[in-house]
Symmetry: C2
Subunit: 329 residues, 2 copies
């Protein structure tokens, strides 16, 4: 591989001039520039990213840390991030944190050493101190679905509350009168907000009881268990709003096992809009987040910060959309 010095030699200029031509960082006589360009072409020269990284403390890499790529929510997010990064010539490092603060801290420590340009965290466990320390060192970071209103960095999330209300209202419109909710872990702000949205709408219904809410863990199995608990307490429920699609799928399974027809006897609505909802039987009504777009947006905001742009610390709340399908027909 040719180096910048080879180019300089061939073009009969100094390395500084070559660097200037490459980066357009300073004025260079057009004729000289042409010479340099010719030499670059001739030698098939490509700047070495690591040397650049060392000099500039930026490797042209962004880190995407998410709980688990196996969770069907995250591939779309990752793809959104990657496509956007790719467009701008950056690459993406992927890390699975399993929602473990320790793993996240480890990633931060390791990746700082590698001069990654910035971080995107889809995480509920990230520590405020970690965020702070990154900020202090001038390393941009974007958070997804994170609580802190005291945001010291940009946060992107969906309008979970409004989405939950959409879901419940939809169930009501479809004739449900006794609507249960399987909520997710309350340390996740998404789960809390969805629960609040549910309560807000359903609280006014007659015959409503707090025991219509059962907890789940955002996975299939707990959705199934949630339904079992619910049915023993409230055999007469006719609508279930699950805190996410996975739990809704679990709910579907449990209902089927018990011979309860969906949507005839009980209607089910999920949340997230992952692609799995299209392959269940019946297909699942859900409140869709623009997952792919969220990833793209996160990347764009991060890149903007990397390029020295905004330091806005905005909280961006994206709209969600109800997708009616067979499970609530």
């Amino acid at each position: 591989m040719a180096t910048i010095r080879d180019v300089a030699r061939l073009a009969g200029v100094s390395v500084a001039t070559v660097s200037r031509v490459i980066n357009k960082t300073d004025f260079v006589n057009p004729e000289t520039a042409a010479q340099v360009l010719k030499a670059i072409e001739q030698l098939q020269y490509e700047p070495n990213a690591v040397a650049r990284g060392l000099a500039g403390k930026k490797m042209g890499i962004i880190a995407l840390i998410l709980p688990d790529i196996l969770n069907p929510f995250f591939p779309a997010l990752a793809r959104g991030v990657e496509d956007e990064a790719q467009k701008k010539g950056l690459t993406v490092i992927l890390g699975n944190s399993d929602d473990l603060g320790l793993k996240e801290s480890t990633y931060i420590k390791d990746l700082k050493k590698k001069y990654v340009d910035g971080f995107i965290f889809a995480s509920n466990t990230i520590r405020e101190e970690d965020v702070e320390s990154l900020r202090k060192e001038g390393i941009p970071i974007v958070l997804l679905d994170r609580g802190l209103n005291t945001a010291s960095c940009p946060v992107i999330r969906s309008n979970n509350r409004a989405g939950a209300k959409l879901a419940v209202q939809h169930l009501i419109e479809r004739g449900c009168q006794k609507i249960a909710h399987i909520y997710g872990p309350q340390e996740f702000i998404t789960a809390r907000e969805r629960l609040l949205g549910y309560e807000e709408v359903v609280g006014e219904l007659e015959g409503y009881s707090p025991s219509l809410m059962v907890s789940g863990k955002f996975d299939i199995e707990s959705g199934r268990q949630g339904v079992e608990h619910l049915l023993t307490r409230h055999p007469q429920i006719d609508g279930i709003f699950a805190g996410n699609d996975l739990m809704a799928i679990g709910a579907l399974k449990a209902l089927r096992e018990r011979g309860i027809l969906v949507p005839e006897q009980v209607k089910v609505c999920g949340f997230d809009g992952i692609s799995l909802t299209e392959i269940t039987e019946p297909e699942l009504t859900t409140v869709a987040q623009p997952i792919y777009e969220m990833g793209g947006l996160a990347a764009r905001i991060l890149l903007n910060e990397i390029e020295g742009g905004g330091r806005e610390n905005t909280i961006i709340e994206l709209d969600v959309a109800l997708i009616p399908r067979k499970s609530t027909r």
Copy 2:
């Protein structure tokens, strides 16, 4: 951040000695080493990975290039790779190639500049020349599911042929007599092998006709279309072996739409063992590949090559396992 020179100064030794202590690359007097360690501790020193990378041409990063993380096959693979890499202190760059040779070449070009330690390609489109050029430059590479018997590098795949035979035999055991096959794109060796396995078993059956094979594209929609074609030609089929799980899911959908009962009237078997097969209705019988383990294995082999180990160019064929579920009961 402290540098190696800070450590050297504090410990009263030269940077070379510090480097030796850190890397255990040479003998150092235990007392001196202790001094150095103390200084490291005191300064909270951590070697800069980029500087290291520049000097050693290795950034401690491996690249995983796959067609599309949105395809439910790949998250498990990615997770397998990441977990293994993580264990050895490496990080993973993720790239989506969309099975486009051009994108792959671009990744190679970009990532070479970043001194990634090695590549894992889950790809059918990678060009032989690209493989060669990497090899020539001494950059290790591992291929998944790639054809070339002229392997100039390690290749990992499942025993697709044997798996297909398992599937068809299973259908026969369950009483199927007219077994169709929806095969995947024949440029994929996996698809070819599975087709061969199918033919091998089914060719001996009486009433077998080549028109029982229809092509698909390894996605849900083409599985559905495949079934539609099949049913017009052969209304009496009672078993379908799909070339992968996604097409099997499409098949399930199409059958349901037509009111054909699975498994009562037609039994369906997929291939891959992705987690989606557990949430369909009925749950899908499939030939499972050890996807997560394949990822882990690929990473391990790659790391071994990176550390200067084998240059074995083995083709490793992993066993698959039939998982009988409701769709063939």
